[in-house]
Symmetry: D2
């Protein structure tokens, strides 16, 4: 089954393995005459790039993107945009010892069960390296959306330690190696993660992505709801185990009167909401409020702590993963979550335009 | 945009409004020569049917399904299966007062913003009545999956009150009006919900659906991952605001060694797992363990407590919803969640078969 | 595989068998606030209806359509439009003798080979009765396209007898039982077909469909070209064996200078073409000229002339089809071809609007 | 709209322009553990490669393919296969004079009308160079189909000159520069085309593609019929204006008894057919006979004969195309038609397997 594409009108397809010659993405369905340069994309790739602090994998990849098609004289032509990112730092020897064993909690075993063959070098196709392609596609999606839609992400929890939302400051997100909107929590995380790293362990996280400027009316009931597509988008990011919109799981404990966001006339004649438990989506359609998504990232299973497992012959073994890994893969998931939000919104912007005939 | 279909190979399309003459579903892609009768479907519809206890809406609908095509002499023919459910108890007068106002927290406003027109009778297309079609499709999906895959759902939380998992007994789920696997909690919920109902309020819930017997290997990386499709499937159910797989959001707080499910050789030569934090899915592919999904259902916004809102002219107003409603819509979401699980699995069973050439 | 849907944004799904209780279609992706009534659809169904002359099957079907969803107070709501047509004149006894034999040239054998079961009553799903649903969907598509796009079809050949294009008069198409634009040829066809019918034989035909008012710019290279989608659309009509655009197969014998349609400035500032060998499509995109499609319909294999065949046990047999049939199924294919043209164009209008943000 | 992908389960996506740095294709949905090397693909690319005789364009492109992903240790892994073909001989100066004018009969004008921008170098995305990617994808599709399905193509008409089918010899197809199965006709074509070339003109052609070994049962009624998908597949090849299956347009002039292929028991217990007017497809499903498709290729509009046209400002002009071009683009369409046949069949093989659970 051809599962390497995402989106309907704004649609991208990715290819490439962690330790192959390159990874890439074809972005199809992009309207013409939009300005697009490699720098527009590189900016976002640089935010996801590994090796930028001691809290992410030490693999050194410049992640330099090349545009091979679909752009002419600085503008999109409406033809598919072929993007390439060469792999450079593929130390395959690091991974030789996992060729015949399955890391518990990793896709090693399921790829083997499904395909009967596995490119074990660096996790092959199941590596988070694939997310570079998502970020590249997301950069194009932002161009499609235009400046009126603003998408930002932040890490809101590492292990058991959540940010203090009263101290939330978007301006500080890029000031620390965690995309943390609360500098005090960032300091605490640094200490905590140093301990995790020293133990050869890893830890999970929660990412929040917010899109402002989405007009009311995007999203297609019943099965192509905006939140349904966002849930799929985020859940397909490596290591994600949960997704919620607005109040999310907390809504289960609310009463109807507390959960329903009251509406009133806004001074400008539009509608304003007293709260945003809905996370900007009702009935699968955007309300005009910020679209708010959170997703949980599990701790990576590539750790130095020995774990019991089996090998390809079914024999018992013990696994220790010595390669270069992220103690908290959730950190680098922030720009990936932003990218997926951008791709879903660009798709729904175009879908809505097809229906409405308008420019939104 | 055509958003009323779900699935790729096993694919269904629904139509119909809450107070129109009927709702229906076309189930396409069903293999031939499977035994299928209306009773097979009715059984599941009856579990979702309203009016069976004081804790669900008092609308009286027999929800009788008719098979109009795709079955010949008791067997599926490979042609699309057209299913109809007539609407009978459409007391439209109940809803006349919401024709011009938007219930806060409801899709009233977003449908209006998107379409500029709204079938306000009983919520029209945004009504949970659409979920009867999902349940009917799910019944067909179960036939496609066959008896080796067992799908069961339960309500695990109402408002702030969760079940005690130590008392979990699947056998008791159908003994109480809540699909509760823990009879003691069911009693507690009855008292609690009586209070909610008397206050004219409503409350949220959490549903858990478990599929046993799914072999390792189903699911298509990268964007058609089994858990990605499940997340979309559940998030598109009315009022759902969060979805998680296995340990879900709790995984964020776990260490890598605690989260990774250790593997060992099973006595029968297969692989066994020491735990199931993964919820039966790794890298988007089933592990062979039970597939475990949970989703949060918000409290309905159709309540007797007055809430501030606006009308179609943008003027301030107050809304009280007097119609027949569920104090806890999460209850009837249990068979709906089971149905969506069945549909996702049937689709992926067929996708996998296309790839592998096998019978799984 | 779920093959009973057509289109991407404007998308319809059909169900139902020739001798089941009903056939139907769900039309999804229709923009809201378009006026739509059953009469709008019935008008086109009546043109396809059987039994209107001695040259079509004598099956008596009123083909009365009912709108079951998606329309509220006379306007589309953006929700899926469920349409039903009851089957009334199912004389199943006529077909009892083909339950165990395969008509040569008919889908009897291939359905059996594929599905291992077959609803033999009147051809079941493979019956041309399914095309009533196409016509209903096409009527909705015309509403989506609006009055600026005009779609007309005509029969241009029956057996070896083609119309004289110098006598082409669109006004006369509905004056004869053949949708023939040339009354003299219509008279000739009447005589010819009477002979065919008396012999218990059947004969093929060629249909031409022309869409005027399609602006330049519709169609999506490379694989969703306007002509590619038209080719698929027409080829999936029962009994169609060939499709061509503009000059079609005759283009093979032309020189480049004769085939290329010269362009010049039009008085109104637009572009005018000296000819239309392209049939209104270049590079998969509409040119602004009329879109011209022709398709060949084979003679039906349901004939009184005995033919050699096999039965379900593989034994030799002889087949004579005594049921009610069309001596020239191509006649009733005219409104079906128009409908498919309308559906393809409505889909591409919306696709183009998604890209361009305009109203075309 | 994202129109650069083809297929459902076996699905490929192409990118790249005629004079960009490269063209490429991502082939997704390929089953794992199939042997695949660059040589397997190169073999087919070499048959399509330009510059191999005086009858095709003199552009010199080695068309060397590189596999960048999806293959590990010589076997497919089930991950997307990224294929690259560098462009080498992009003499852009040849095309400078068409930057501001539209070649009549070419996609120049429609791309401009649709996108408002155009990569005019060598036709950009609308160049037949894109078909190299189809051929590469088709080579992979052949591996998926395996040796039991044999796909061969031939040129059966150039200009008004058709082959003599009594002299058809598949063994001779690769002996001449035309893929002509009849050497005497090939000689005649050489003379004829020399004249066309000297006049600076071009001429059309008809290609026939035959697939043997396709079992009965492939194809999905109603809208995903095997012949519907083949029609779309062939019609989307550059310059194709007509597609027919089996007897095709000639079927219009046949009687029902002449057209219907009689069946009888075969000595081996299967069914044999007395003829193949159906071209191997009935009701959209394969019959087990050879699948026979023909398509008409128009003469290229890139000719030395001056033609009237307009420029981007709408002013009248005259166009002469001096670049390197094929006097008969139909020749190189033969391997492209074979490739599309292979892709459609591989997709339907997998679709059928999903339904049937078998290995066909």
């Amino acid at each position: 089954m051809a599962g390497n594409s995402f989106g309907t009108l704004f649609r991208f397809t990715t290819w490439g393995e962690s330790h192959g010659p390159a990874v890439g993405v074809v972005v199809d369905g992009v309207p013409s005459r939009l300005p697009l340069s490699e720098a527009d994309i590189q900016h976002h790739l640089d935010r996801r790039r590994p090796g930028q602090s001691r809290f992410t994998t030490q693999r050194r990849e410049p992640d330099t993107v090349r545009i091979l098609s679909g752009v002419f004289e600085g503008q999109t032509t409406g033809s598919p945009i072929g993007l390439h990112i060469d792999n450079q730092d593929q130390r395959s020897k690091d991974y030789g010892d996992i060729a015949r064993t399955f890391r518990p909690g990793h896709a090693d075993y399921t790829y083997w069960a499904k395909y009967g063959i596995r490119d074990y070098r660096g996790g092959g196709r199941s590596s988070a390296r694939e997310t570079a392609c998502r970020v590249a596609a997301g950069a194009v999606a932002r161009i499609v959306l235009g400046p009126s839609v603003r998408i930002r992400g932040a890490l809101v929890q590492i292990g058991p330690h959540a940010v203090d939302r009263d101290r939330w400051d978007w301006e500080r997100v890029d000031d620390n190696p965690f995309f943390c909107p609360d500098p005090q929590t960032a300091d605490r995380w640094a200490d905590y993660l140093d301990g995790v790293r020293r133990r050869g362990s890893s830890v999970g996280a929660v990412v929040e992505v917010v899109a402002e400027g989405v007009p009311a009316g995007w999203g297609d009931p019943i099965y192509d709801k905006l939140d349904g597509d966002l849930a799929r988008a985020m859940m397909t990011i490596n290591a994600v185990k949960g997704v919620e919109i607005g109040a999310g799981f907390a809504a289960a404990a609310l009463s109807g009167e507390d959960n329903a966001d009251e509406m009133s006339p806004a001074p400008d004649g539009s509608v304003q909401f007293a709260s945003n438990h809905a996370g900007g989506v009702l009935g699968g359609i955007s309300t005009g409020q910020p679209v708010v998504v959170r997703f949980a990232v599990k701790p990576t299973s590539s750790i130095l702590v020995p774990r019991r497992s089996v090998d390809v012959d079914g024999a018992a073994t013990e696994v220790v993963t010595r390669g270069r890994h992220d103690p908290c893969v959730g950190i680098r998931a922030v720009p990936v979550g932003e990218a997926m939000m951008a791709c879903v919104l660009a798709d729904h912007q175009m879908r809505h335009r097809a229906l409405s005939g308008g420019t939104n």
